[in-house]
Amino acid sequence: MRHIISILLENEPGALSRVVGLFSQRNFNIESLNVAPTEDETLSRLTVTTIGDDRIIEQITKQLNKLIDVVKLVDLTEGNHIERELMLVKVKALGAQRDEVKRTADIFRAQVVDVTPSVYTVQITGDAGKLDAFVQAMAPIGILEVARTGVSGIARGDKMLSL
């Protein structure tokens, strides 16, 4: 099962490497990883998507909680949540392709954010499934480069991951 775990982490040097190191050290999977500071400058928020059965996920959350730099964490997939990822895609755009790229981007509610005579750069947000579908749709036209942020997420409603 795929799980999205969000972690509030002390904004200390080496904290990120402890989290990442834990996954390789204990043979846990990382599908994607996303990390940035929060509104509280002493804290970073890190979101990791991972795959494992219940026993593995239980170990992952317990081992993460054991890290001294981990202040709090939540397995977002345990409840209703919003999941988003941002992707920038460079695609070949020559002649008739230019319209085709634009049309496909519109269908996915993506935006063309940079243009040259031969290349469009498209920005798209959504869950991982939508981004995968967009990549598939663009593939026949000619994808030149893909940059994805990895999943970020937040619980729906009043539930909060905060101190």
């Binding site: 490497s17 026993r55 054991k66 202040v71």
Partner: protein, 585 residues
Amino acid sequence: MALETSRGETTVELLSGADMIARFLQDEGVEYIYGYPGGAALHIYDALFRQDIVKHILVRHEQAATHAADGYARASGKPGTVLVTSGPGATNAVTGIATAYMDSIPMVVLCGQVASHLIGEDAFQETDIIGVTRPIVKHSFSIRHPAEIPAVLKKAYYLASSGRPGPVVVDIPKDMTSPTERYEYVYPKKVKMRSYNPVTRGHSGQIKKAVELILKARRPVFYTGGGVVTGQACEALTDLVRRLGHPITTTLMGIGAYPQSDRQSLGWLGMHGSYESNMAMHHADLIIAIGARFDDRVTNSTSKFCPTAKIVHVDIDPSSISKTVRADVPIVGPAGSVINEMISLVQGREPGNPEALAEWWEKIDGWREERRGKLYEPAEPGEPIKPQQVIEEICRMTRGEAFVTTDVGQHQMFAGQYYKFDKPNRFITSGGLGTMGFGFPAAMGIKQSYPNDDVICVTGEGSFQMMMQELSTCKQYGIGVKIVNLNNGSLGMVRQWQDLNYKSRHAHSYMESLPDFQQLIEAYGFTALRVERYEDLEPALERTFANKNELVFLDVYVDPREHVYPMHVPLGSMRDMLLSKTERT
């Protein structure tokens, strides 16, 4: 620290980073530091030189410093302290840090580091020791400003010794300890960390549930580990187990938590555990695990582990619970407070099934009887000495009261099996990591704090040669440990596995050119004895233990064909054991 001057004004004490470290160690009550100097640590060494409260012990290899501090910690229950320089000094300490980590031993390792402006430039003796040790520490710190030294060190000692203890590394760039920069020093009496709050008691509802199961059980077994020892809960455990009249087995790390000479003790369990403890575990209907972690050397195949038992698991570390074996009643909490709460709940209550319990004991006594006198065949006159006999003799001679450290291999298992411990913190062994070379330096660390006790390192010629340079340290400080070398001319446990699994092809498990240990030991000015015949063993042991403060090396030539039994059959259940070269369950 605020000081009052003669005119009644208060002034603030200004200290260099290095002096702060020395002062902090004094204020923290550190008695011994084990270490080795080098460029990046020299300011700190100078500060230690200018005081005489904290004693520094100069080892001959940094690995020995960590093992000595570890031995000190295991015997005394207080955190051990290590000081090494950057680069090779720090990397040499790695094995000892990993050893402490695997056995949850409180330890603070202070590492010198190249000056801040050189970090990342591959400077002379630079290593990213925080990175190197990341998977084998409870936590680590890098000092970024001298003023934060007292607070960081306080956190280091607090983390090392609270909750589930473990080693903490503090990386100290040389400029942080510069003698020319001084900052305000105040000893932080308290420490608070928002992300670290170890539990102080277990969940009462869960404890109640566990106690109901305990009172109803027909075939219960207590299975307790190092957590009871480090949690200083041995007296409470003994009280609880005696009240209930249940059998108890401990892990190798938990030896002595309950007196082994008591009838309710089944000895220790697992791969080379006693027949009766492994049989009892397999047939139990309730296992009460406290401060133990269902390690693979205990459980054998987890899918066949204790098929009829419900499991109560008490541990201070939630990640230990249901990691390898699913717990039916998990209780996160310190052993001491949980056991005391259990005692208050069983007080005045009768066990639900006294007849079943009596039947259970009959069965257990039957298993005991089955193996009585069959554990090994004592040597006939003219035959080589059996290693088991040596340990039994040592146990008798020291009345079971000595500190016994071991290295790793057959001698380690024999020491655990044939020395009977009634007290905790006396059997000091590298259980988790299995570090050869651990025993001798660990014994040094213990002997200094317990000068009036016998401290015996039971070792083998393979292990001893990994740390024998420490003879020089013992000479310098007059450390009178006893070293008993069970000399079988080979790496016994490796050889045993090769006998069992590789048709006795002894690939590199024999020692072709052993030194003359007698000459070697005498070169350091110590006494060495060599025994080859059983009849010479007792007088040699008497000589060995004649003077508590004299280092004596006893080289005993033992039967190299001997194997350690019982031994779990790989991939089997707890009850699947080889009992000798010809018998199995």
